[in-house]
Symmetry: C2
Subunit: 175 residues, 2 copies
């Protein structure tokens, strides 16, 4: 996961990946059919983590929206840490989305963003009408990923931090 995040899909060789795992290159093929299957497994691991520890936070309806968004932001800060390669889902999407044929692991990327959008939409419905909530969730996910991009361009985590703050601010208006 670390290698793919830092070096990208195509630039990560099976040798790089094997070294990071502390095994011989050939041994990778005992567990994974090929490089694409390995990437799929990595992306599925990220998705599983988010499904277990991040998205559910949004649906804890007995807690306040403010508290829930703060927890989610904390998780996103770790999951997308810019100094560890940023967002693997976004990096991968931009690197392979136009390839023909498209690698099948793109479906995992889509599932990730869909669930992230749904989770945020659910939270925003507490402070906005349903339609506006969906639109605002889309805006916020885009703004967050874009802020992460700027952080990587300028090697400055502040852009991403400000993106997280703007998301947080939505739930703590003035008061």
């Amino acid at each position: 996961m670390r290698v793919f995040r830092l070096q990208g899909y195509h630039h990560s060789s099976m040798a790089d990946l094997a070294r990071a795992c502390g095994v011989q290159k050939a041994h990778m093929y005992y567990y994974f059919e090929n490089k694409e299957a390995l990437m799929r497994a990595v992306l599925e691991a990220v998705l599983s983590y988010a499904e277990a520890r991040v998205f559910p936070l949004a649906y804890e309806d007995e807690r306040s929206p403010e508290a829930r968004i703060e927890d989610i932001i904390g998780q996103l800060r770790r999951l997308l840490a810019m100094d560890q390669g940023g967002c693997l889902m976004a990096n991968t999407a931009l690197e392979v989305s136009h390839l023909q044929p498209a690698p099948d692991f793109l479906a995992v990327v889509r599932a990730f963003f869909e669930q992230l959008l749904d989770a945020l939409t659910h939270l925003l419905k507490h402070i906005l009408p349903p339609e506006a909530a969906q639109s605002q969730a889309e805006t916020q996910v885009a703004a967050l990923e874009g802020a992460l991009l700027l952080s990587q361009v300028y090697e400055d985590p502040a852009y991403f931090e400000r993106g997280l703050e703007r998301l947080s601010a939505l739930f703590t208006p003035i008061a």
Copy 2:
């Protein structure tokens, strides 16, 4: 440029690039020292275009901000067309920003975003206090690139279109 946008930097081979240019692979080395120099030249061509035809639109102070932002949006729609590979600057940044050593063409990417941010900040100063203008420019560039990402993830130009509309709407409040 087309090949790099669609396939990414590392996945584009000199053979791919030569074919797209209609010359033999070896001939590419007559014009460019290596693949990295070729990528630099491509990025510089994009930057030059933006410096000549896009950014200056923001500074035509005799025209209304609304008119200027509409022209800029029109240019961005073409320059970042999602079905042609999206934003080469963003794609490239995410693909190579964590490599060590970092390719020197990253400086061109930084220059592009810096000038885009400056241009948007200048325009926003017509409707916001200076400090808020800078902050809002950062937010809008991030939101736009993020919207483009979502368009590529879902193969749906609508996300990017809505991003452009939200930018446009900033300059035409209610009225």
